[in-house]
Symmetry: C2
Amino acid sequence: MPTPVPLLAANAGALVELEARITGALPEIERWFRLQWQDHTPPFYGSVDVRNAGFKLAPVDMNLFPGGFNNLSEDQLPCAVQAAQSAIERLCPDARQLLLIPERHTRNQFYLMNVARLTRILRQTGLVVRLGSLSDEITAPTTLDLPNGEQLVLEPLVRQNGRVGVEGFDPCAVLLNNDLSAGIPDILRGLSDQVVVPPLQAGWAVRKKSVHFAAYDEVAADFARVVGMDPWLINPYFARCGQIDFHERVGEDCLASKVDRLLQQIAAKYKEYGITDQPYVVVKADAGTYGMGVMTVKDAAEVKNLNRKQRNKMAVVKEGLQVSDVLIQEGVPTVEHVDGGAAEPVVYMMDRYVVGGFYRVHTGRGVDENLNAPGMHFAPMPFAGSCNLPECGARGEAGANRLYAFGVVARLALLAASLELERTVELAADKVEA
Amino acid sequence: MPTPVPLLAANAGALVELEARITGALPEIERWFRLQWQDHTPPFYGSVDVRNAGFKLAPVDMNLFPGGFNNLSEDQLPCAVQAAQSAIERLCPDARQLLLIPERHTRNQFYLMNVARLTRILRQTGLVVRLGSLSDEITAPTTLDLPNGEQLVLEPLVRQNGRVGVEGFDPCAVLLNNDLSAGIPDILRGLSDQVVVPPLQAGWAVRKKSVHFAAYDEVAADFARVVGMDPWLINPYFARCGQIDFHERVGEDCLASKVDRLLQQIAAKYKEYGITDQPYVVVKADAGTYGMGVMTVKDAAEVKNLNRKQRNKMAVVKEGLQVSDVLIQEGVPTVEHVDGGAAEPVVYMMDRYVVGGFYRVHTGRGVDENLNAPGMHFAPMPFAGSCNLPECGARGEAGANRLYAFGVVARLALLAASLELERTVELAADKVEA
């Protein structure tokens, strides 16, 4: 068996009914996914934060520029390579060369380990991969040493004849591992004959979580019909407010009234299912990432009485992106605990395949808090098994079944991302040309 | 780490130059395979017996009805499920139900474990799988207990309205795990709207090893050009004789002269590469399997002086199939040793992916003998790693690189099988209708 077994710890207290229902419907589920992927193109890759409340299992965030490939275990790599082969075939079957554009920050060793891991996976599919940096600091090929003894070479991007690459390297495709929070850089606009994945509209300069979750609503409803279940069990309620200005206290009323309505909707569902937890919502920036601009709210009054510090925190996310639109999402408490810390699974996918995942464990945070936050207590724990080997009707194999259920929910979010990207193509064109 | 590590033992004495050359050409190789699979449809599944002579690494047998899925390790299953998903998508994306037709013999526990493992892999892709038997003994649903506590239910085949299934089960596709050595059964002829994979011409009633290896000649030549190497390093010489009758001693001259010519060709290559081994050839039935009708020959005179026992052994293979055509194949000695026994790797593939493999170890046999033979000393040892994670330029990682090289050679044979099946479609139609 691979590395640690967080599931054993996490099993305690979790309801298995939902898992059993999902595992029991495996034939219908897999066939449904097969048919969906006939009609929709999966994103190149993605990761999904899943929250398991026991009574409910739902995605709360879908990342199209996954940054934690280094947290997967070695055991998960063969399937990742296999899935990457499939993704490459779809992207550009005669590809020889791929340009990978990572995040700008070159001092986050964990992130750089992710880039190294991702590069390794892509190289094993046969691609020659080079790293082009958007950072102003990278003006010449720069070798970075990683904690594990590996090295990465970052090179400055070069634009020539409408194509982007690095010195002496003209790739057929560009893979973004940079979420474009800082906006779409000119050097990537209007490329000729080069595929960019994920597409530019997937970047946080354009993408809105609310558009994703609107697509997820449809996917979840469709899926729930197939399985014969209440879609709420896999889908958090959400609402959004636009034109918020936290500094100027503009939009507080909209926020408060939507928070209030959502809390009431959740309370009604809790009553229907006999759940005694206190409902809460999570307010977060509609665009952007990294756990900044995230707030847990249990009463609408809270959002009307934010102090300066709280407002500052909500007003800006990564790369100084101003928050004007917010997403209000039903809070899904986690029943998962690993090593005494609240934990949430993060599922990694390439093409249409689940390739692995890990538990994000945060000993300093509560079960109803956002765990994607910086802190000393963050520890990734790789899944101790595969997400595609459930044991139908098996006892004592809850671990495998739970991982399968995580994978199903993550794939639903992946499918929603696929719909989302189809629908935002024009939006991207507007913003990209502008 | 998974189960045993036969590679460490096997490393001793093997040349790594060939492996290094293959690993070093990974980008070209993977791109070439991607393009090949654009033009050719991979078989649903297959296994390849690879022989590693150190100076040479070559497939000696390509099985389109692989029977040892139970010999893969548990660690290899996630990738097998993922590959099976891909195979199913290609076969029949909206499939719900699949009929699996195993071999007739219901008393070979090892084979039945293979069927159980294969069934499990297919079920995890979401298919409802039932087992239809060609055996006359199965006249009603029959539950078989397996050594590991699992059970299998074999059901009699039912033909209705031009479709085959089992009682109350009308599958969209039929997967053969029966190599049809006994001929193409009427119940499978002329089916309407049901896909049968592998196609009927892949069965040993029609298939000829010499057709496969002729296709392999082309594949190996093409591949060798891409990598820049002598194709002989991955390709055994072969010849064939038809209209042999071992009982009546008809065709001995043809056999002797071709054996002689082949031994000379091998000797010339051995001289070119400074190899001091004694050349030998393997004479085997051009159709059929199971290590019957196989003979190691070091001198042409040997095939002219067969005693009655030897002639009887050569004259008949599985299911009483008479041998009239023989394949004379360059013998590739094995340098692989596991636990003191001569070993040869067997690589398993589904769709175009290598999903795992194991060492066939035979302590009672020599390095120049056929190891696919019954005997107390046969022991499967699963590969201790994945075939798709080579370490370019790494030392001490020869295991991973060797597994990658095995996988490459096996995929070459898989591609040859794909060409072979394309070319024998008409042949099958003739024999199927006849």
